[in-house]
Structures are given as C-alpha cells and as structure tokens.
C-alpha cells in the first residue's frame, strides 16, 4: 500500500471486476462443478396436479445398469418438511410446506415423486422412464379466488377453503364512507398474472457427505447460502448448523427464485449421506418452470374514489393471492406486507382499506420474484389512477401531480403499517420524465396520428418501492422469522491488502465491484487492493443474503461501518506511535496525521504493517486491523421515479411497438452509474415482458401450458427497445451512503407504464382496461369491440 492520494471511486462508472472470468468461459457455475465419485440425480415428477399416490414400482429403474439407487418420498420421512420463515398475518395451524418428495398425495404438476441416482445424468434420466406410479387423480383448482369458493377441491385438511391467511390493513370504515360518498368512483378487476423468474441458469444442488466427520458440503445456486445452512440443518435435518457448509458458485441470475430452500437441496444431502457419494442435481428448463417458485398471481378488485377535480379520497382493495400448493420460504409475507402496506404508492390517500386472502392452489409455489409484492402494488395503484384520470378526462400526469405526497411531509406515514417512507420528492422526477420524453409535443403528435387512423399511446407510471427491508424488530412484527441485518468483516492484512467478507453476495449485480469502490473510498486505499469475499459459509460471517435490493443499503453500509471502526483503531495506533492524543488524529488521503502537524504522520500501510506484526501494541489493544459489523438499518429505503413509455398499436395485427421508454429513477446516491443503469435496464425489461409477453398459465387440470421456453415468452433482443435512463437524486437519510437500491425499481415501475400506454392507445376504441399480457390477439379483439 502506498500513501499516495487515491482517486475517489464512488460515482465512477468503472467496468466490473467480475467480468474477465465470465467473458472467457472461466465462470464456475453449479453445473461446472465436478467432484470425485460424483453421482447424478434425476427426478420423476408428478404429471398430475392433484392425485393420490397408490403405489410406486421402482424395480425396473433400479435394475438398469449404471443406476446406483432409487428413492421415494417414504424413504425420507426421517427429515422434516421445508420450513416457511415468514408466516405473515399470524397463522399457525395451516402451514403446509413441501417435503423433499411427495409421500401420499401430489398437489401440483412437477412435484417430486422419486429420485434416481446413477453414474451419469443420461442413465438417470433413462431410468426415470422405467418407474411405474399408480395415481388416483383428484379434483383440481388453480385459480386463487375459485379455490376459496364452496365446493372447491381441498388441498390440505387443515386449511378450510384453501385459505392460508386473511390479512388486512388500513381503515375499513373510513374507506367505506369515502367510497360511498364520493363524486367519482372507478372500479376494476385487475389481474396480476403468474410469472416465472427464468434465471438463465436453472437451479440445482450438489451435496457431499464426509462420513468421518458427519459433515455436509452443499453447492447450490443460491442468493442466501447462510440462510440455506440454517434452514437445512436446524429445521430440516435436525443436525448442528456447523455440520453443513454451503457454497454458492457463480449464480446465473436469481430474481428471487434462488432465495428459497428447495427439495433438491434436501434429497441431494440425504442421498449423499445414504450412499456415501456426492450427488448432483441440476434442473432442466422445464423442471425449473414446473417446480421452482413462480411470482405474482393476484386477482384483485379495486375501487378508487375521488373528486371531480382529481383528488383521490379513497382506495378499497380486495386481493386473492395464489401461493401454490405449499408455502415457499417467505411466500406469505410477499403477498401481504410487501404488497398491502405500499398499496397507496406515491399518493396521499386519506382512506385506504386492503384485504388479502392468500390461498393454496394446485400449482407450483409462488414466492418473491423481482420486486416481490411491490410490482403488484404499483401496477394496481398506477392502473387505477390512470383509470380515474380517464374517467375525469384529465391528463394522467396532472392527476398524479395533484395527489403526490408533498415533499414537506417526509418522513411520511401512509397509515398502512409501514415505517414512514424515508424520503421522497416525486414531482421533479415526473417533470424530468415529461421533459425528457417531450410530453406536450407527444400529445399533439398523438392527436395528429389519431386523425390519420394511427394509434399512439403514452403511458405514465410514478412509483415508489421498498428496499432493504428493516429493521429486524419491525420485520419480526410482520411475522418474519429471522433477522434482516447484514454482516461485513473488514481486515487489513500485513501487506496492506484489504479483505472484506460479507453475507451479501452477487448473482449478476456486480457488487464485488460496487463494494470495493465503497471500501476503497472509505479507507482511502487503491480500489485494486480491496478483495471482496462472499458466497461461502466457510470464511464469511453469517448474513442474510441478497434479495429485496438490500445488498448495498444494508450490506454496503455494514462495510462502511467496519471500515470506520478500522480507521478509529488506526488512529489510536498512529497516535501511540506518534505520541499524540488519538482525538487529535486525522485520517485522510491514506495517512493518519496529527491535527495541525501534517508532517507528523503514518501512512495507513505503515499502521497495517505495525498492527499485523503486533510486536509492541499499546496497552489494551489487540494486534491486527479486523472489524466486523452486523448492521440492522433503522428503516427501509424508498426509491421512486416516473417512467413514461410511448407505444404504437396496430389494429390490423394487434401488434404493439414500444417506440420510446424514458425512465427517471431516484435510487439515492449512485456508487457505479454503469451498474445502476444495467440494473434498471434489466428490471424494466422484466416489467415490460409482463405487460406484453409473459404468462405462466395453467389449464383447469393444473397443467402448466407455458412449460418450456417455446411457450413462455421471455423477450429476445428484437422484442425490446433501447432505454433512456436518467435520475433525480434524493439521498436516503437511513444509511451513511445515502443509497436506496436499484435491483427491482425498474420492474416495479414498468409493467403499468407499458399497459397505461397500450390502453391509452386503445382509448378511441373505448378500452379502459386490459389484463396483462397485452398480446396481439387481445388487442386485435379490443379494436373490434
């Protein structure tokens, strides 16, 4: 380490340190891991959405040369079902979570029924076809509302009417009065369709058991290795937490789906112990679609009341949220807290009432998918506000402006049980977006084109979301069963190299780069001397992982705090060496100097060397610069923004062309603009995909019709536009970096932006609402009445 002044790294759009391995084929993803003696698992999955298993004959499969063993659900009864960590709403007696494999009854297509272990994956797959299962099909329900109706098929005896939890927030009486007495009431049934996260790398697990020590190692494509270790040991296997090491290799995208504990983790561990050899399982794409978690699946009736001059007076919401056949790790909280408590969005609404009925259906489990509850909330409020503007014949930008929470009212309590919104200033983001898109001219162009029989639509979305959900005490009050702080240890080695370990980890976000930028600046050391270590429970402090746009606001802040503790100790040590008072020391430009005597100084490198050797430490000081922080934020952060899209719809074909997409996002201070833009691009693409393309649709028999990438339309490059990204910057007061989070904002802002534009384009045809995705078929019909 040198004492020369280093260039500030925060705010610089440097390229990512993660990339060299990934662009040269040296990435190490789960399926790239090979172990000595490794066996391969293939899973027989239920073809029925609901059926009783009468018998399973595995003899032929077991006899196939190359097959090591075959296991069924009854073999694994000595381990517990998977835990659900977020029973939001306080329910207890109807928590039905999956086992590693079904035992007596299958409840969704794709549920594991048997596992074959073989010498290679091809033999294992061949053997799957030789297993004979006798099923007795049962009646099926896939719709979250129909599941609650009298006579609906029942999934679990302990959940009458398939209800997981009935949850509500707000002021029911006040809202009922406001709606009943309003000048204007608009109402819609709004469906937020089921989606599939579709990380390009599917999920999977590799487990190895060491019989000499009774220790497991699990490689798994996960966003939260420490949490997986905790859940698998303490809850599923009932073994000491220390008997499992979890490693997430390079993770090829997660988008929420890789937060959770899954059956393959359990059966790979259990079987590796049973057979004494490592076991590998990697999903193929159709397995990922059928059996890993899905997102959204809301059916909502919404009413919004207001005055003729565009002021909103009330919002009444009733949502049926499908959670699938069993509860995934945090599913109940996503459908309630993360959705219902932010349902008012960016608006000051005096009377709000929301009811959520979360239900079991014969479908794959639903849990957090990029945005997790907030996209459903922002879609709902932004769609119904647009509907209100259309009803009044008022410009949708103006209606939004009239109802924004004023900047003077932050921190703002929306009355729905959140901690107050930390900060916000919504009108400047709207104004900037209107200016960037050229709104006034666009409205004129729209009128001109309409006269020519062309249908331009302009869609506005003003959103707010919740990042870095915290503090733990508040989350516990929401039923969250663990912590929501994050860890960071910072160590300065003898050579001055900085090693940071954290429970936070990337799966594409580039936080190795961002974290190193932060730590380099905080310590005044060269960026290249900072190493970020993560993703392995061996060698990193316990942490809760990466989801909910929390890595920077929570994990990054933990790093800053550890680095500040390091600086304090460095000052004490420098003061000792310089025979000065620690309070008189200044840490700047890589040097610790005595106030008023800049020539009396030690470089940070000198102090690192001194502390690392530790030969003559002052009384009461330990050798080494090594500090750890477990940072529990005082509040969430609340990024916001306005997105505006311009589309043209073509009545002859029903096609939609997205001509412009302008986003103004306020994610607080920005550490690396290139990375933040990338996060927003990807987020917007996923929301746009929900609006126009994607639908994880089940038929009435519970068959997943969108079961492959031929049927589930994640967009390719030809289906998306360029994105025009800019910002306003309202630093978060919650953390010392002033950052909020950018991973989900794009998704939370975009689906309704596109839908509002499509519906605006179709307004001459009398269209006031359309369910997503706005496919050419729907549009073609809509233009024909």
């Amino acid at each position: 380490m040198t004492s020369e002044t280093t260039t500030p790294m925060i705010g610089r759009a440097i390229k990512r340190r993660e990339d060299p391995k990934l662009i040269t084929g040296q990435g190490n993803f789960l399926d790239d891991v090979k172990l000595n003696g490794m066996t391969h698992a293939a899973v027989l999955r239920s073809p029925y959405a609901h059926a009783r298993i009468l018998s399973i004959d595995t003899q032929k499969a077991a006899a196939l040369p190359g097959v090591v063993a075959v296991f069924v659900g009854k073999d694994l009864l000595d381990v517990n079902p998977l835990p659900c960590a977020w029973p939001a709403g306080g329910f207890k007696n109807n928590m039905n979570t999956p086992r590693a494999m079904a035992v007596d009854v299958v409840r969704f297509v794709g549920e594991a029924v048997a596992v074959v272990i073989a010498e290679d994956r091809f033999i294992a797959r061949d053997a799957i076809d030789l297993i004979d299962v006798d099923y007795e099909p049962l009646a099926v329900v896939v719709d979250p509302e129909k599941a609650t109706q009298p006579g609906a098929p029942q999934l679990h005896e302990n959940a009458p009417n398939n209800v997981v939890v009935e949850w509500s927030a707000g002021n029911r009486e006040g809202t009922n009065r406001a709606v009943a007495s309003a000048d204007v009431v608009v109402k819609e049934r709004i469906i937020n369709q089921r989606l599939m996260a579709t990380p390009m790398e599917t999920r999977g697990s590799i487990a190895r058991y060491e019989s000499s020590t009774n220790e497991f190692t699990l490689w798994t494509s996960s966003q939260a290795p420490h949490v997986m270790r905790l859940l698998l040991t303490a809850f599923v296997f009932g073994i000491p937490e220390t008997k499992l090491r979890v490693i997430a290799p390079n993770v090829g995208g997660g988008f929420g789906q890789k937060i959770f504990v899954y059956p393959d983790m359990v059966f790979c561990m259990w079987i590796s112990r049973k057979i004494g050899r490592p076991v590998k399982f990697v999903e193929d794409r159709s397995e990922n679609f059928k059996s890993s978690t899905h997102g959204r699946d809301h059916v909502t009736d919404v009413e919004l009341s207001g005055t003729r001059d565009g002021h909103i007076t009330g919002l009444r919401v009733k949502t049926y949220a499908g959670l699938g056949a069993y509860l995934s790790t945090i599913a109940p909280g996503v459908a309630t807290t993360l959705y219902g408590r932010i349902i008012t969005g960016v608006y000051k609404i005096p009377n709000v009432s929301i009811d959520v009925i979360a239900t079991y259906t014969n479908t794959a489990m639903v849990d957090a998918y990029r945005g997790a509850g907030r996209p459903e909330a922002s879609y709902l409020i932004e769609r119904i506000v647009d509907r209100f503007a259309a009803e009044l014949g008022m410009d949708p930008a103006e209606v939004r402006r009239r109802n924004f929470i004023p900047p003077t009212e932050f921190p703002y309590d929306n009355g729905l049980g959140l901690l107050p919104y930390d900060s916000g200033n919504y009108a400047p983001a709207l104004d900037k977006a209107l200016a960037n898109v050229g709104y006034a001219d666009l409205r004129k162009e729209q009128a001109t084109l309409r006269a020519q029989g062309r249908y331009l639509g302009i869609g506005i979305s003003s959103y707010v979301e919740i990042c870095g959900v915290a503090p733990t005490a508040w989350a516990n009050g929401q039923g969250w069963g663990a912590g929501l702080w994050e860890s960071a240890n910072v160590r300065i080695h003898l050579t001055g190299q900085v090693v940071v370990t954290t429970g936070s980890l990337p799966h594409g976000q580039g936080v190795e780069t961002t974290f190193a930028q932060i730590v380099a600046d905080e310590l005044g050391v060269p960026y290249d001397s900072v190493l970020i270590e993560h993703s392995d429970t061996a060698g990193t402090p316990f942490g809760y992982g990466t989801y909910g746009s929390r890595s920077l606001a929570v994990g990054g802040t933990a790093m800053v705090k550890s680095a500040r503790k390091i600086k304090e100790k460095a000052k004490r040590l420098a003061a000792h060496l310089l025979e000065a008072n620690p309070e008189d020391m200044i840490f700047a430009d890589g040097k610790i100097s005595v106030k008023g005597s800049p020539d009396k100084s030690k470089t940070f490198g000198e102090i690192a060397l001194y502390a690392s050797v530790g030969a003559s430490m002052p009384d009461g000081e330990e050798p080494f610069l090594d500090e750890t922080t477990y940072y529990d934020p005082p509040n969430c952060t609340f990024p916001f923004g306005t997105h505006i899209s311009v589309v043209e719809v073509f009545p002859d074909t029903g096609a939609v062309e997205v001509k412009r997409y302008v986003a103004v996002d306020d994610v607080g201070n920005i550490i690396n603009p290139r990375i933040v833009h990338g996060q927003l691009h990807g987020g917007i693409a996923q929301g746009m995909a929900q609006a126009l393309f994607e639908n994880a649709v089940y038929d009435d028999n519970g068959q997943l019709l969108a079961g492959t990438l031929m049927d589930y339309a994640i967009p390719n490059a030809g289906m998306l536009p360029d994105f025009e990204i800019s910002h306003t910057v309202t630093p978060s007061p919650v953390n010392p970096l002033g950052v909020k989070g950018a991973g989900e904002a794009g998704t939370i802002g975009s689906a309704q932006c596109i839908m509002n534009a499509v519906i605006d384009a179709l307004s001459p045809f009398g269209v006031r609402h359309m369910q997503m995705p706005a496919t050419p078929e729907k549009i073609w019909h809509a233009t024909r009445g």
Binding site: A13, K15, R16, E18, D19, P20, K21, L22, I23, T24, G25, Q26, G27, N28, F29, D31, D32, K34, D120, F122, T198, P199, M200, E201, T202, N250, V251, G252, G253, F255, D284, R285, S286, H507, G508, Q509, G510, P673, R674, I675, H677, G678, Q679, H681, G682, G683, I684, A685, Q686, T708, L709, M710, I714, N716, A717, G718, L720, D722, F723, I725
Partner: protein, 163 residues
Amino acid sequence: MARITVTVNGKSHTSDVEDRTLLVHYLREQLSLTGTHIGCDTSQCGACVVVVDGQSVKSCTTLAARCDHAHVTTIEGLAQEGNLHPLQEGFWECHGLQCGFCTPGMIMSAYDLLQQNPNPSDDEVRHGLEGNLCRCTGYHNIVRAVQYAAAKMRGEEVSAPNV
C-alpha cells in the same frame, strides 16, 4: 458409439462418443470446456452457441457424432495469445453482461453475426441475436457491446458510451 476427431479451439481431440451425445455435453463433460452453457431444453436460449466450421450453432441441438473432422470454436478459444477478442472487450467495456450465464453463447452468436455483417445497424444486431436469451440486461448494453466490437474490428477508435 462413434469415434470422432474434432479440432476444438485449435487442438485436436479423438474421442469415443455415444450416438446420442450432444455436442454441448461432449464439450462440457468429456473435454471439460464448461464455458459453453445449457439454459434450456428446447433450443430457445442460445447459452450453448459455439462456432462450428465458421458458423454459429446451438450445440444442444447438434450431435457430437456429426462433428467428426469439424473445427469448433468455443468461448474459451476466442481470446488469442492473452488478448481479449473485441467482442469480449466490448461486453466488458459496455457492461453487456450481468450474471454472465448467457454471455458465452451471446458472444459466439455475435461473432457469427459480425462475420456476416461487419457494419450492422442496432436493429440488425437485435434481430441477429434473437436466438439468444438474456434475462439480466434487457439487451440495451448487449447492443452497445456488439457495436463496440464491430467498430473495433473495422479498425475504428472506440470507447464505451457514457452513462
């Protein structure tokens, strides 16, 4: 079982492969070239794209036995003498990747695209890469990355767009 001789990234291999072995499994399992990925089971995603005899192919839909005497280039063979290929450089400079799982296939498809069209429009890049899915980037920066490489391969001065 078939015996094949294949040149992969300039190195000749003679191997016995099952008749049903796909090129992607041959590369990954037998040659341990794991830079080529598998992202789907229906030839939609393009994570497995490699170049065979000068043309990009989806190696998940190509039998290894068909590649007897073929010349195969994978992502591992693109950098020459330690120098990144302009496409690799472009993806790095322009933040054309996030998780990196689709990136090898995306780069190999773009390699073929630029062989055929050294001066594509943005629209031609987008349509030329329709066989490759990326879930992270929204493609915006992938288009920039390919244009960066195209310009560099034409001998022009290039830099990543400002953000």
